[in-house]
Assembly symmetry: C2
């Protein structure tokens, strides 16, 4: 993935450039999104931020994440069951592999996605602007531990 440190300053730079204030709470949220390799949920971010700023409201976390999403600095992975997850490292559509047991989310490399999109365009005549490609299963660790 992109160097996390670089992502952090990219994200802070975008905020500053658009004249959004860098509050301590915002900084904490941005830091978690830029530096974590996983795909944290708002709840996870909230718990982390509270360690440094115990009075933080979860509404503030929602607002910051939503702002970063609007600025296209974070990719939102919404799930109908709730518990949406966020990717600050690759804020553009890309495939995911999700462990149904431990909820880990991994970014696979998938060269064949381009070919697939072409196949789809010629079959349906759609003009494709985005995608959401998720595979579900057991990660190597959970596969091993499974009964």
């Amino acid at each position: 993935m992109a160097d996390p440190k670089i992502r952090l300053s990219e994200m802070l730079g975008k905020l500053k450039g658009r004249n959004f204030r860098i509050t301590p709470q915002r900084f904490a949220v941005v830091k978690i999104l830029a530096l974590s390799d996983g795909h944290p949920s708002v709840e996870m971010i909230y718990e982390e931020v509270k360690k440094d700023f115990p009075t933080t409201s979860i509404a503030t976390v929602y607002k910051t994440v939503s702002l970063l999403k609007d600025l296209k600095e974070v990719l939102e992975l919404g799930f109908p069951e709730g518990g949406n997850r966020y990717d600050g490292n690759r804020p553009f559509p890309h495939p995911h592999v999700i462990c149904v047991k431990c909820k880990k989310i991994v970014d696979p490399k998938l060269d064949s996605l381009t070919d697939m999109t072409e196949e789809l365009v010629s079959d349906t005549g759609f003009e494709i602007i985005s995608h959401r490609v998720d595979f579900f299963g057991f990660c190597p660790e959970c596969k091993r531990k499974r009964g």
Copy 2:
């Protein structure tokens, strides 16, 4: 797609076989799911059912759809923004192409999905059990009308 009439009796048969009652409301919901080529939402089903049975509650529609989902006779396409959609014709995971303007949902044929899954397994070591593959864009009609 599979013959809609056949799907209708398949679905009714499954209900009867499991000793679920075929009430008029259930029959109406099942009929819509089996015979419609589109991917109706609960709201759409509710509006249709009310034409025949005006006192029907939306809770009943939710319950019936949920029952059919549990029986694996309907595929639920959940969206984080809500307004989930349902497919009674192909109740197993398959790719979808969704028009962001008119919300139409189309089933493309995508032979390359199998290859993609293989590429993914060898890259991540996951054991894949399911997928959710959605492409978003403009359908041919909306593409033409777009300003």
